[in-house]
């Protein structure tokens, strides 16, 4: 057996060493013949006679060589090589066709591989955690589109009760969900870094199954009040800012001015933000003191690891029971409190699943169009090559050999395209994984991996077989003489073949129409989204996150600090207003229960909650939020935490429809406040979700957070004003970190990024599809008019004018495209209906989208047909007639 393996290997090697091996054989045979001739002459033969006899005894040089090669190497590899070589030559001969085909196929293979990689990384691949299928996301109720974080987080007490009582989970852990309200300052030898840190339950990483890259996870006492402070660093922070220094473990660093010990570094494979807070960055982790946060209300996001064999549904049922019991013991939780368990994967992919699968389907359609297109071109070429095939058949090439040859040609074409397409996909994936501030979960993880290569291989095979076999399927090997005669006569080619090509083009056009409608609907949705009245004015404003020195003890000091910054900014002529808040819309959301003073809510009424922001006296002006009634805070009210509140219209509408609410008192958070003013509603949670109740409380309210967003409204565009603003701020406080200075519109950008992602990709696909359909129509019309030039010549000789000819060709074009458009419109309706959940403020039957598609498609195809039409009209009757 081993001897045969050895031989197989040698044969493979021999395939690549043809030249030297042939030479060696020739030398050996030459010496053989010389010795044989010597012997034969010694036996008395004449030199000529000896030469002849020696060759006869050997058995013919050519035959010996052939036999030797078959034994020495692998004959099928040789045939394959010949086929590939021939295919290559054929493709090179027809450069125009090859260039178009490779370009078209490369683009579609590249697009397919890219979208597949995105889908694979975001939806299909398991999360980069240990046994991720058993991880679940546990909330106190189903996640509602417009709901705030407080609606889905839990109190630390509930979390601990859940953890103790539920039997469905092997382990439960949690993290502090409102982490982005605070920035942490890490002091390094070369300056301070403003970072985002998350408090996590001490076993968070071990329960998720994230091993430390170096160091260890938290130990019990590190999560207790007064315990040794410990921090775990994210991999990027450690590598990029700390030089991947392994000795950092056990060292003490200054975080917010306090010494804290680095105990571990996370592995590169785990990116907290990409799973739990897409579009943001999280750099470090501290152990969460569950006791300390207990009075803060719903603040933790809970994760559970299911016991083996327990499904998320079973766990959900059990958690509902556990929570019911809990509510009986702690009535203050309120009746609205429930439990909701979903697989973690479902949570991370929920927002993007539909859009991505839709994209995948669309890119599949593009691939189909491209293949149909190339198949159509191949049909046309096959008609021209019928003579070649007939000749080769006449010379003895078997049908099987010809089929193999065509298949090889298709596969070579597809492989070359796949190489190019793979390169394109690599670039595209690289760009997508680094798309700035796009809030799609796991987007950073997108890469070309085994799955992508498999996808490329499968599409290549698919495309190759389609392109290769189309000309075979058609009546390509009819009776020989007929083919030879046919080609010489220059008729339009078999009716079957013409119908097949027209069918392909109609299908292409229909698919392209459907994509165009889908793209148009999504793009219109997106523009509707951009036109949404956000309730504030995102243009012409900058924001900067500012954390006053933690040493500032009193509110007065903080107020004075901001006053200084404001004065500096106001000296800039382009700055018109400067406001402060701790929770900008579309970035932070925190909601508190709210109800009118004295009003008791029945249990089944639920408890309304409002998005709460702490703001100063200039906030509404700086944000461009319209004050409808009453007034804003004064400076004193804002900073001294006067018992006042400013609410939005929706809140007034909710509690006192039609009444004047000014002076009414509401209970919000832990205090009672009288309403000072009413403002317009703001889209707090998302651009495409409904507005809710808003409440603005004075910025002087102490809630432990010391991080503020400064909103600076400018007269010029934010990018033009940025330099001046930066200078003014640095003049007021030279140590102020400026990394976060960015346009307010950035928040809107990030909020709409998933839709923009899908809409722009689909728009690109649709354009490409239309282009392909045009190419297909052009190909068919140009080809048929070319074949009909004699007939046209005759007609013109009989008196048809060139415009008659043009009209006739355009009529053919129109016939083709209108059938396609008609089918496409029907398909488009179906598609639009299927994708209606992806639409925003656009009906699936949106007339504009359909009309634009219809008119556009017909015009574009007519343009494609006009080129061959004009060519046909310039036919010289005399020359075509003579050529026949």
């Amino acid at each position: 057996m081993t001897a045969e393996w050895r031989r197989g290997l040698r044969r493979l090697v021999a395939f690549f060493r043809k030249e030297p091996l042939d030479q060696e054989l020739d030398a050996e045979l030459a010496s053989h013949l010389e010795m044989a001739e010597d012997d034969l002459m010694a036996q008395g033969l004449s030199p000529e006679e000896a030469r002849r006899q020696a060759r006869i005894d050997l058995g013919g040089l050519g035959a010996v060589r052939e036999h030797h090669r078959d034994v020495r190497s692998l004959p099928f590899l040789d045939t394959l090589q010949q086929d590939v070589r021939l295919a290559w030559r054929t493709l090179l001969r027809d450069r125009g066709f090859t260039a178009v085909a490779v370009l078209v196929l490369a683009l579609s293979i590249g697009a397919t591989a890219t979208v597949y990689s995105v889908v694979d990384s975001i939806l299909l691949e398991p999360l980069p955690l240990h046994d991720p299928d058993r991880l679940t996301w546990i909330t106190n109720g189903p996640e509602l589109p417009g709901g705030g974080l407080s609606g889905i987080t839990s109190t630390s007490a509930v979390f601990q009760a859940w953890r103790e009582r539920s039997r469905s989970f092997e382990a439960m852990t949690a993290y502090f969900a409102f982490f982005d309200f605070d920035r942490r300052e890490l002091e390094l030898s070369d300056g301070a870094l403003r970072l985002t840190g998350v408090g996590v339950e001490k076993d968070f990483f071990s329960i998720l199954g994230v091993p430390m890259h170096v160091g260890r996870s938290f130990v019990d006492e590190e999560a207790l009040e007064g315990g040794p402070p410990a921090v775990i660093l994210g991999h990027d922070l450690w590598r990029e800012r700390l030089g991947a220094d392994r000795d950092i473990i056990g060292q003490s660093v200054l975080l917010d001015g306090e010494p804290i010990t680095v105990v571990g570094v996370l592995p590169a494979s785990f990116d907290f933000a990409s799973i739990f807070a897409p579009g943001s960055q999280v750099d470090l982790f501290t152990a969460l003191d569950l006791q300390r946060i207990e009075p803060w209300g719903n603040t933790v996001s809970v994760l559970g690891r299911l016991r083996p064999g327990v499904s998320a549904e079973q766990a959900h049922e059990e958690m509902l029971q556990v929570t019911e019991l809990l509510k009986e013991e702690q009535p203050e939780l309120g009746q609205g409190y429930g439990a909701h368990v979903v697989p973690l994967k479902e949570k991370t992919s929920r927002s993007s699943r539909q859009g991505l699968f839709f994209l995948l389907a669309c890119v599949g359609a593009v691939l189909a169009i491209a293949s149909a297109n190339i198949a159509g071109l191949q049909l046309a070429r096959a008609a021209n090559r019928r003579q070649e095939f007939a000749v080769r058949t006449a010379l003895g090439a078997g049908r099987g050999r010809l089929v193999r040859q065509l298949l090889t040609e298709g596969l070579v074409l597809a492989s070359v395209s796949a190489l190019l397409g793979g390169g394109l996909a690599y670039l595209a994936v690289h760009v997508i994984a680094r798309l700035p501030h796009t809030s799609l979960p796991l987007l950073e993880r997108v890469s070309l991996d085994g799955g992508s290569f498999l996808c490329i291989a499968v599409t290549t095979l698919f495309v190759g077989v389609i392109c290769g076999l189309t000309p075979v399927v058609q009546a390509s090997f009819p009776r020989l003489q007929e083919a030879l005669r046919d080609a010489a006569r220059g008729s339009t080619g078999g009716g079957w073949q013409a119908r097949a090509r027209s069918g392909l083009v109609v299908a292409e056009t229909a698919l392209a129409c459907m994509l165009l409608i889908a793209a148009s609907l999504l793009i219109r949705s997106f523009s509707q989204l951009l036109n949404v009245d956000l309730g504030f004015e995102p243009r012409q404003a900058l924001t900067l996150n500012v954390e006053p020195d933690a040493q500032m003890e009193s509110v007065d000091e903080v107020a004075a600090y901001f006053q200084r910054l404001r004065l500096g900014l106001e000296q800039q002529p382009e700055v018109t207003a400067v406001g402060l808040s701790d929770a900008l819309p579309l970035s932070h959301n925190r909601s508190w229960q709210v109800f009118p003073q004295g009003r008791v809510f029945a249990d089944d009424e639920g408890r309304p909650a409002a998005f709460v922001s702490r703001v100063d006296e200039h906030y509404f002006e700086a944000m461009g939020i319209e004050l409808i009634k009453g007034r804003a805070f004064t400076h004193e009210e804002a900073w001294q935490d006067a018992p006042s509140v400013i609410v939005n219209e929706s809140l007034v509408e909710f509690f006192w429809p039609g009444e004047d609410p000014i002076g009414n008192v509401i209970t919000i958070g832990l205090s009672e406040r009288s309403i000072l003013g009413v403002v317009r509603s703001v889209h707090h949670k998302g651009v495409d979700s409904a507005t809710g109740l808003d409440a603005y409380v004075p910025i002087g309210l102490q809630d432990g957070s010391n991080s503020f967003d400064m909103v600076i409204r400018t007269e010029r565009s934010p990018t033009q004003a940025a330099a001046g603003v930066r200078g003014a701020l640095l003049a007021a406080d030279a140590t102020l970190p400026m990394d976060d200075l960015r346009p307010l519109a950035w928040l809107v950008d990030r909020a709409v990024s998933p839709r923009r992602f899908v809409a722009s990709l689909l728009g690109g696909f649709a354009l490409f599809a239309v282009l392909l359909a045009c190419l297909g129509i052009y190909g068919v019309i140009a080809y048929t008019t070319g074949r009909r030039s004699r007939e046209i010549g005759v007609r013109m000789a009989l008196g048809a004018t060139s415009s008659d000819v043009q009209r006739a060709v355009l009529k053919d074009t129109l016939a083709l495209s209108s059938v396609g458009v008609l089918l496409g419109t029907v398909g488009g309706f179906a598609l639009a209906y299927a994708m209606r959940s992806l639409l925003f403020e656009v009906a699936p039957t949106d007339p504009a989208s359909f009309v634009v598609m219809l008119v556009g498609m017909v015009l574009v195809t007519l343009a494609a047909g006009s080129i061959p039409a004009r060519r046909a009209s310039r036919i010289e009757p005399s020359s075509t007639l003579r050529a026949g």
């Binding site: 031989r7 045979l29 010496s31 012997d39 058995g59 010996v64 036999h67």
Partner: protein, 116 residues
């Protein structure tokens, strides 16, 4: 029918080559072909060229090795010799040939008995 020559069975030529090299020591292709023709008398139909395919097969299995040298009558020629692996292979191939022959013998004898 002694006048008709025998065609070589698949694999038999390889065994003849091994055996010849084992008996005669290093030989070139022409010498091998001549030797096999001599030993088999006129009974075999041998295209001398097929020797080279057999030699390639054996060499690819590492059963023989080759070097260029000078022949008795001063011609440059490629000489083949048996390797240790080839020696072992010869023993094995011989015994399997013997087994095949005895099976064939028995088979044909039984056939004759049945026929008679």
């Amino acid at each position: 029918m002694p006048s008709s020559k025998l065609d070589l069975l698949q694999g038999t030529l390889d065994l003849m080559v091994l055996q010849t090299l084992s008996a005669m020591g290093p030989l070139h292709g022409y010498g091998l072909a001549r030797r096999i023709e001599q030993v088999s008398g006129d009974a075999l139909r041998l295209n001398q060229g097929t020797i080279y395919a057999a030699l390639t097969r054996l060499q690819q299995r590492d059963w023989i090795a080759s070097t260029w040298g000078i022949s008795d009558n001063n011609r440059r020629a490629k000489f083949y010799e048996l390797t240790a692996k080839g020696q072992r292979a010869l023993v094995e191939e011989t015994s399997s040939w013997e087994r095949l022959r005895s099976v064939m013998d028995r088979f044909l004898t039984v056939g004759e008995e049945a026929a008679s």
